[in-house]
């Protein structure tokens, strides 16, 4: 009796390189990719400045003759959209990796206070120096994530899976936010608007350069993830049992955490503190396709990208002419989600 081959799996022919894929996963992947592409194109059209489909085609074909419409799309919307997709994918992946490392379905950069910590570092940089280069802000972001992670780990010691780490993460996030608020209140009005938007996560300030950077970064991180993804499944069984299965657990746990940090830091540096994407996307993905390391990561990323893209697009179109930060939307949905999830999960 063939449990696996029996109408469930699609297997590639050669034995040296075999990539078995469950049919369901394949459908889901295709559907999500299509959804993402459609969202991408549609978001280019949506907005307070009305733009025709012809203009959208023109921009996408790089046939840019910079009239009003195409320049709107090209300079204002395209960066935001690219940025949102890249940010969503990266934050989703980051959350997924953290969840694997902590073996805790509630782990996520926002929950653990890491995005707040990174955002604070970047804000400090902005307050102290008025002109901040891309590199500097990214470095500050790395520093922020690193320090906050250390703080949380120190409080929690060994007990990463459980609700306590969530509470500590929230508490650390609160400390950091308090400092951010203080910093913010001591700053001039013009800077304040930008920084406040930054604090809640906004794609407004992205330009083509930074959006491209984020997209390239995303591609690199995804490539590394695909290489490493084999090891994720065994790591889910815990440090000791991953070792029993043949994985050098210590090495790979560290890799995963480092990859998670590398995934989230540039996003926060450019976009501000957005969290919860990993929480929501991974939870949904798990429910849709179950638990297979690589596929789960990819589906989470796709879901994260779609979510973030729509958060940004809806934010700038739904209540026009008012623009709502994507971050605020996501925080709201995230908080709701979190409340729903703790009901599910507090049996630990």
């Amino acid at each position: 009796m063939n449990i696996f081959d029996d109408q469930n799996m699609i297997i590639s022919p050669s034995e040296g390189i075999s990539l078995p894929l469950y049919k369901r996963t394949l459908w889901v992947l295709c559907a999500l990719v299509i959804l993402l592409s459609l969202s991408f194109v549609y978001s280019l059209k949506l907005g307070s400045v009305s733009v025709s489909w012809a203009d959208v085609y023109a921009v996408m074909g790089f046939d840019v003759e910079l009239n009003d419409a195409t320049s709107t799309i090209y300079e204002l919307r395209l960066p935001r959209i690219m940025g949102a997709i890249a940010a969503g994918a990266l934050m989703a992946l980051s959350g997924y990796l953290l969840q694997t490392a902590a073996r805790n379905a509630l782990a996520d950069p926002g929950v653990l206070g890491l995005s707040d910590g990174a955002a604070l570092s970047v804000i400090v940089l902005y307050v102290v120096f008025s002109q901040v280069s891309l590199t500097a802000s990214i470095l500050a972001s790395f520093f922020g994530v690193f320090v906050t992670a250390l703080l949380v780990l120190w409080f929690v010691h060994k007990n990463l899976s459980g609700t306590f780490i969530v509470l500590v993460g929230i508490a650390v996030g609160a400390v950091v936010s308090a400092f951010s608020d203080i910093l913010l209140s001591s700053v001039t009005i013009e800077d304040m608007a930008f920084l406040m938007a930054f604090l809640s996560g906004s794609f407004l300030s992205l330009d083509l350069t930074s959006a491209s950077f984020l997209s390239i970064w995303m591609t690199v991180i995804i490539a590394v993830f695909l290489l490493l993804s084999r090891y994720i499944n065994p790591l889910n069984f815990g440090y000791q049992h991953a070792m029993s299965l043949g994985v050098d657990a210590k090495k790979y746990y560290i890799f995963i955490i480092i990859l998670a940090v590398f995934a989230m830091a540039p996003v926060i540096a450019l976009v501000g503190s957005i969290g919860f994407i990993g929480l929501i996307a991974t939870f949904l993905a798990k429910n849709i396709i179950g638990y297979r390391g690589t596929e789960l990561g990819i589906v989470s990323m796709l879901l994260g990208a779609i979510m973030t893209l729509w958060a940004d697009t809806l934010g700038r179109t739904l209540f026009a002419p008012v623009m709502i930060n994507a971050g605020v939307f996501i925080a709201l949905i995230g908080a709701l989600f979190f409340i729903i999830m703790t009901r599910y999960i507090v049996k630990q």
């Binding site: 007990n159 509470l167 929230i170 209140s185 709201l332 709701l336 979190f338 703790t342 507090v346």
Partner: protein
């Protein structure tokens, strides 16, 4: 059953070696002195420093001609009194909350109550054009909604008696996050309307004055009185619900009344100075250094300490980066959240909780 955590245990041990009554009286004396010092410093510091002698003169021999006297009476004193009053209210609310839940981590901010008050107030301004004077009504509704939400979430969580403490705080944090993101969302809908609300959102004493106080003091006094009257019942409830019931205490009624008063006090404070966090969290711990939470001595002491703490925070806010001024809410949040983190740490360390 008694969820006492020892703040530096050496400190409380050395204090408990002195006779309890002396400890209380000594505490009252010490704290009152500190309060006076802080009060005087508070009034004297500012854009225009004022000598203490002038302060006394202004209070006891007010001279209409002296400009300095005006500053003292019209500007500085109101702010100080508001700070002390709000601090007292928050302190008492926190004390009662911690006593009732037997949980060293609860307070009106950690239960999400303040965030709910803020959100509902914003809604009232946005949708119903409610005026400043009546803000405390939606604030109270919001506070209650948030509080009830938190409590019902906790009920749905695990019933184990150890992690229950953590769960209520977790629920509170989540509710708080929910309401504050709702608030951010609402504010972004109409940035102009809410432009002058920014400071209030952080918790700002400066715009408040005697008129604000006069609006809320009847209800505040009512809440305080009721809370104090519940003191005896709460004492019995420390033993546990079942024991309290068999001793004749109407547990449900006491619970509800206490909760309502806590919500009321929190929302009154929010309505005039905004959500100032963590005062209610810290005060009961300091109070426990001087007197046990049984009886009403702790309640009175909490009001004293609360007043002291908030005026001190306000003082800090004004001098730390002088001449620029910080907002009180930010200062109390910063210090308080660190305190909260340390509490978590000690709690787990002592109880070996997971």
């Amino acid at each position: 059953m008694f969820q006492r955590i020892s703040l530096p245990s050496s400190l409380s041990r050395s204090l408990s070696s002195v006779l309890p009554n002396y400890r209380f009286l000594g505490g009252v004396f010490l704290l009152t002195v500190m309060l006076l010092l802080v009060a005087l410093t508070h009034i004297s510091i500012g854009a225009r420093p004022i000598v203490w002698a002038d302060i006394f003169q202004a209070i006891f021999a007010f001279d209409n001609q002296q400009f300095v006297h005006h500053i003292v009476i019209k500007q500085r004193l109101p702010r100080l009194v508001v700070a002390m009053a709000c601090g007292a209210m928050l302190g008492l609310a926190g004390f009662s909350a911690q006593k009732m839940f037997q949980n060293p981590l609860v307070s009106s901010s950690t239960l999400g109550v303040s965030s709910g008050a803020v959100f509902f107030s914003l809604c009232a301004i946005y949708f119903f054009n409610v005026s400043e004077n009546d803000i405390f009504i939606p604030a109270f509704i919001g506070a209650s909604v948030a509080g009830v939400f938190t409590l019902s979430m906790t009920e749905m969580m695990n019933r184990s008696s150890i992690s229950k403490n953590l769960h209520i705080v977790l629920a509170g944090s989540l509710v708080s996050m929910l309401f504050s993101s709702l608030s951010s969302f609402l504010m972004q809908l109409d940035p102009l309307r809410f432009a002058n609300v920014q400071d209030w959102l952080l918790g700002d004493i400066s715009p408040a004055d005697f008129t604000d106080l006069s609006r809320i003091y009847p209800l505040a006094l009512l809440a305080i009185g009721v809370l104090l009257s519940q003191g005896r019942s709460l004492d019995v409830m420390i033993m546990g619900e079942k024991q309290a019931r068999s001793a004749g205490v109407n547990v449900t009624r006491t619970r509800n009344i206490t909760l309502l008063c806590i919500f009321l006090l929190a929302s009154l404070v929010v309505s005039i100075v905004g959500p100032i966090g963590f005062i209610g969290l810290v005060v009961p711990h300091i109070s426990k250094l001087f007197v046990s939470e049984v009886g009403n001595k702790g309640a009175w002491l909490s009001m004293l300490i609360g007043g002291l703490l908030l005026s001190f925070s306000d003082l800090l806010a004004r001098i730390v980066i002088a001449p620029k001024v910080l907002i009180v809410g930010g200062v109390s949040a910063s210090i308080g959240s660190i305190f909260f983190l340390c509490l978590l740490y000690f709690m787990v360390r002592d109880k070996h909780m997971s």
